[in-house]
């Protein structure tokens, strides 16, 4: 095993491979930073150029792109509240409030270091679990995926403390939106109002760009002034402070990386779930949950660590069975096949050197991208000093054009604008956007897998109580639901006892 790891690493240390890796990383960084483009577009553009390359070099190039995208996505998420990629949307939640406080440097530094550390932990985890890859994929069928989606929804719902009713309303609204479009199981169109654009449902990336970037720009244009309200503070935040924050919050980094690894390894779930789940679990585990959404650095570290860790583990279902976790992996899968690397259980046996080389390439690229991100912290942070009348038109134009560029559809831009207005109203009336987004992502997954589970069991709910993984997930679900109640009553009892003790004295 160790010699194969080293062979993969050695293969990557050739000048040609390093050159392609760096070129891919730069491209990934750029495509990740532009809202709407992302890794899938970058890889799709690159595929024809790899025809003449040997498979290892093509993998180094692809690994470079995939490793560079998350850092690029985080830069615009933090600075402009415009998530370059869907998973980076979770970083907006606390990253941008930090930028508004003049701490963009701190947030970018923490994001860059969490990216790198998450990538390294993800690599170590994947190297450890790769031999078990086949079993992991086969453990998660429709009943397990349904419960996993419900678990994700519940974790996020419990994260919206203090405004549970608002959280539930936006969650329910997100679920309603997620049911728009074509039902994969029955083949029926729902709530599309005769608009062909809605056949595929409400698209996630244009919706996220609207909810974050456009909403923020509306908010900023009404408020006026630069993003950073405290223009003096920006000078005292540096890349080193962000770097140290990540290492100080090592528990958050490890938790995020492990969540990223586990979620990434489950077929068809994808990175957006990983980053939002990591964020929500960090909120739940925090002693000061109310500080999240207002600029808590852990709210940046948690999703960033998860995003890069999942990049490696996403390879498990892709390589072992050809089931991609998202659009980026789907295009990468095509690249593999074109180079004669047929995904399937045999690939894990026949092409181990290439697989380990790819994993190393991903890790090297994300560390390299983080390093470049750190170098850019200071100049990029100055973007937050720009005045609204300069920034707002530019960001709104980039957001709308980026949405259009996803698949050259003008309806994407209309959707972005509509979600921008919705996002602004949610900010204005204090409704959490997190629950809406997670419901939007997980709603159709939950529905499809529930329908399939019922088809498997002839309509009996017993299927959720007779499968080991399902029973474990139900137990976790019960724990997540009961923990806040028990914790709350325990705290109340302690408070009463303390008051009684004080009264006796």
């Amino acid at each position: 095993m160790l010699d194969l790891w080293l062979s993969g690493f050695e293969g990557l240390l050739q000048a040609r491979e390093l050159l392609f890796l760096t070129a891919g990383m730069m491209m990934g960084l750029f495509f990740g930073a532009i809202p709407g483009l992302g890794g899938a577009t970058a890889l799709a553009l690159l595929v024809p150029f790899t025809y003449g390359l040997d498979p290892f070099t093509a993998l180094a190039l692809a690994g470079g792109v995939m490793g560079g995208v998350p850092m690029g996505g985080s830069i615009t998420a933090i600075l402009l509240n415009a998530p370059g990629t869907a998973p980076s949307a979770a970083t907006c939640l606390d990253g941008h409030p930090l930028a508004r406080q003049g701490k963009a440097g701190l947030a970018l530094g923490a994001a860059a270091s969490a990216n790198a550390v998450g990538g390294i932990i993800g690599t170590i985890s994947i190297l450890a679990i790769l031999p078990l890859a086949k079993n992991i994929v086969l453990l998660f069928g429709p009943p397990e995926l349904f419960l996993l989606a419900v678990l994700g929804l519940v974790i996020v719902a419990t994260a919206s403390r203090g405004k549970m009713l608002h959280g539930l309303i936006s969650g329910a609204f997100g679920l309603m939106i997620s049911f728009v479009g074509y039902n994969d199981v029955t083949g029926v169109q729902r709530f599309t109002m005769g608009i062909p654009y809605l056949w595929d449902g409400v698209r996630l990336v244009p919706a996220l760009i609207g909810l974050f970037a456009v909403a923020e720009m509306i908010h900023l244009s009404i408020r006026g002034g630069p993003i950073a309200s405290d223009t003096e503070a920006i000078r005292i935040t540096s890349m080193t402070s962000g770097l140290f924050e990540t290492f100080r919050r090592w528990r958050t980094v490890i938790r995020g990386s492990l969540i990223g690894t586990v979620v990434g390894a489950i077929p068809g779930v994808g990175g957006t779930v990983a980053s939002f789940l990591s964020y929500s679990m960090t909120v739940n585990a925090s002693k000061d949950p109310d500080s999240f959404g207002k600029g808590n650095i852990e709210g940046v570290i948690a999703p960033e660590a998860a995003i890069n860790a999942k990049d490696c583990s996403c390879l498990i279902p892709t390589l072992a069975f050809g089931i991609p976790g998202g659009a980026e992996m789907a295009v990468f899968l095509g690249l593999l096949v074109l180079h004669g690397l047929q995904p399937g259980p045999l690939m894990l046996i026949d092409h181990q050197v290439e697989i380990y080389g790819l994993i190393w390439a991903l890790t090297a690229s994300c560390v390299l991208a983080s390093f470049i991100g750190l170098l850019l912290v200071r100049p990029l942070a100055k973007l937050t000093l720009l005045d609204a009348h300069v920034l707002v038109p530019v960001v709104i134009a980039v957001a709308l054009v980026g949405s259009y560029a996803i698949d050259r559809t003008i309806e994407n831009s209309i959707l972005t604008a509509a979600f921008g207005i919705l996002g602004y109203l949610m900010i204005r009336f204090d409704y959490p956007r997190l629950t809406l987004i997670v419901a939007l992502i997980l709603g159709s997954t939950a529905e499809r897998n529930f329908n399939q589970s019922m088809m498997m069991s002839n309509g009996s709910l017993n299927i959720y109580f007779t499968r080991t993984v399902c029973v474990c997930l139900l137990a976790i679900l019960a724990a997540v639901l009961l923990f806040p109640i028990l914790w709350g009553s325990n705290r109340r009892r302690s408070a009463i006892l303390a008051r009684e003790a004080a009264a006796v004295k």
Partner: protein, 331 residues
């Protein structure tokens, strides 16, 4: 020659010239248009998501096609997967028939889609077919290697006690249509577990035990069989590529061999004949291009150049198969 006859013939000549001139000019213009074609980029609609086998195949063919077109332009792949591919096919169907929009569809799944949409969005019978994307792929019936079903006899015996569950794509997918048609021909009591996202996904579903069996393209099953994770019980080929596995003759149902995954390139109805010839020739030449053949082999697709007429015959066969079973497919 009498004078009146002379005048008549002169009149006739003048009338003929005056009537023919515009036609001649129009013909010249059409010829000029054809000879200038293509003068701008060609949009190649793929009604599937990026990254799947179908998308990869188009992306393999496109660079060669650009080389074989008479003028240097780009052929730009454009993924429009919405509505199970319906939106992409509709866009292809409604585009201007000037040769600058072409697209690929798979059969018989697209016939199901057309039927389910009430035939209002597009009519596959009116699309101008240019050629096939590789040789049509056969289907096979398989189970996971851990399944207690060891043979077709076991499967048929199970079918007598309860519905056999098949994992498959959504109802508009070609694999779904293939499964429904195959189980009807075999006289099997079947139930679908539909909605898987891609062919690998529903094959793994069967491997995991979500359903009892799966009907999938041979090219998808091959790597799983080689890895001993799937076992083929029946192959719908006239001569089975898997040793010891029953083919259509052994199954006693030669009709099963008509169930084929056909990937086909077409253009909007009304495409001028001259432009059709140019596009079909470029597509055909790109199929025979050694680099295309090599890359397609990695996708387990055998490139087999076909004329537009041969392609139309294959479409008609697929349409006839669909027509026969459509009552079970378009519910």
């Amino acid at each position: 020659m009498p004078r009146c006859q002379k005048i008549l013939s002169r009149r006739m000549f003048l009338a003929g010239v005056s009537a023919g001139a515009p036609l001649l000019a129009g013909g010249t213009r059409a010829w000029a248009a054809d000879s200038n074609f293509p003068s701008k980029n060609i949009d190649f609609i793929i009604p599937k998501s990026p990254g799947g086998g179908f998308d990869n195949l188009v992306r393999v063919v496109v660079p060669a096609m650009e080389r074989f077109l008479p003028h240097k332009v780009n052929v730009v792949p454009d993924n429009i997967p919405a509505g199970g591919g319906g939106k992409g096919i509709t866009q292809l169907y409604r585009s201007k028939p000037d040769g600058y929009t072409i697209g690929a569809v798979d059969l018989p799944g697209s016939f199901v889609l057309q039927q389910r949409q009430g035939g209002v969005a597009f009519d596959l019978n009116k699309i101008v077919w240019l050629g096939l994307l590789g040789r049509p792929d056969s289907f096979a019936l398989a189970v996971g290697t851990n399944s207690r079903l060891k043979s077709m006899q076991d499967l048929m015996a199970l079918s007598k006690t309860r519905a056999v569950k098949f994992t498959s794509s959504g109802p508009e997918g070609t694999a779904y249509a293939a499964t429904v048609i195959a189980t009807k021909i075999l006289g099997m009591n079947a139930r679908m577990i539909a909605g898987y996202k891609g062919s690998s996904d529903f094959v793994v579903g069967a491997m995991r035990g979500d359903g009892d069996a799966v009907v999938a393209p041979v090219s998808t099953l091959l790597p799983m069989v080689q890895a001993k994770t799937m076992r083929i019980l029946a192959n719908f080929e006239t001569r089975s590529t898997f040793p010891g596995v029953a083919d259509v003759a052994a199954l006693g149902h030669p009709e099963l061999a008509q169930i084929l995954l056909v990937r086909i390139v077409g253009a909007p109805p009304g495409l001028p004949a001259g432009i059709k010839t140019i596009l079909a020739a470029a597509l055909n030449k790109s199929m025979a291009d050694p680099e295309t053949v090599r890359l397609a082999k990695n996708l387990d697709v055998v490139m087999s150049p076909q004329t537009a007429e041969e392609t139309e015959t294959i479409v008609r066969q697929s349409a006839a198969l669909f027509d026969k079973w459509k009552q079970y497919l378009a519910a």
